[in-house]
Amino acid sequence: MSEKIFIRNAKPSDLDAVVGLDEVGQREVKQAYWQGIFDHYVKSGRADRICLVAEKGNAVVGFIVGEVRAWEFGSPPCGWVFALSVAHAVREMGIGQRMFDEICSRLKQSGINTVRTMVDLDNKLTLSFFRSVGMCTGRYIELERQID
């Protein structure tokens, strides 16, 4: 029988598992990045900084990180989800959706009613996921240019 999935707050001891699940960037660089994220989001104990993991058996099989940000780019307080990953072996089992629903529920408890994210145009998998949970193009457009 398949083991149940639990969504819970990340603990400092989840750091290595989260680094292992993050598929972007080199491991050495990621370790320092995630240590900073854990210091800011896991150890702060603040309700508006959220780092959740999905646990199956004793293994961390997914994570999601987000927070409330206010008045950046002229926007009233809103939730931002800026990192999400699910282990390959347990994809398409609804784990991403459960983590997303939980982070939305936490954001709602903080008085937030809009959640945003930003995804690389070529990252079809992640874009498709966010579409599947009801997200669509929002009111802000990301612009960029190369600095010569």
Partner: protein
């Protein structure tokens, strides 16, 4: 963006059939429901069969059935069977080494095309059907108080 008729008819048919993969529908069934040309739709259905998106079932009570994967097929996958989604400036004598104003206009249309494709390529049939059902529920809920 204006979809050509074939793309639109294909999207309607594929979504209609994919909403219940066990159900068979004839060209007439779909044409009647959406008040569209049976003749034009028949051509579109033949293309969709040829591409393996739908399957033709012969015999009494025959029709068409969805044959793809709703979690893997995107709206763009269907549209690109019928059109390229590349905007073209209607300037017959425009060449690659041409006028910088035309080049700038081409660049703008390319930017728009890329965004359009990014949206269409990340909405799977499953997501489109889920959103359609949510719309239907909303409509039903709005109508219920009137009926009561």
């Amino acid at each position: 963006m204006k979809l050509n008729k074939a793309s639109l008819f294909a999207l309607i048919s594929v979504l209609e059939l994919a909403s219940d993969a066990e159900r068979q529908l004839s060209t007439t069934d779909i044409a009647k429901k959406y008040c569209i040309s049976t003749h034009h739709l028949a051509k579109v259905m033949r293309n969709l069969v040829h591409e393996g998106v739908i399957q033709a079932i012969r015999g009494v009570g025959g029709g068409y059935r969805f044959a793809g994967n709703i979690n893997r097929t995107t709206l763009l996958d269907i549209i690109q069977l019928f059109e390229t989604m590349e905007s073209e400036l209607d300037l017959p004598h425009w060449g690659e080494d041409g006028n910088p104003i035309v080049a700038e206009l081409q660049s703008v249309t390319n930017e728009i095309d890329n965004l359009t494709k990014a949206v269409l390529d990340t909405i799977t049939l499953a997501t489109a059907l889920k959103n359609s059902r949510l719309r239907e529920e909303l409509l039903t809920n709005r109508k219920q108080p009137e009926a009561g």
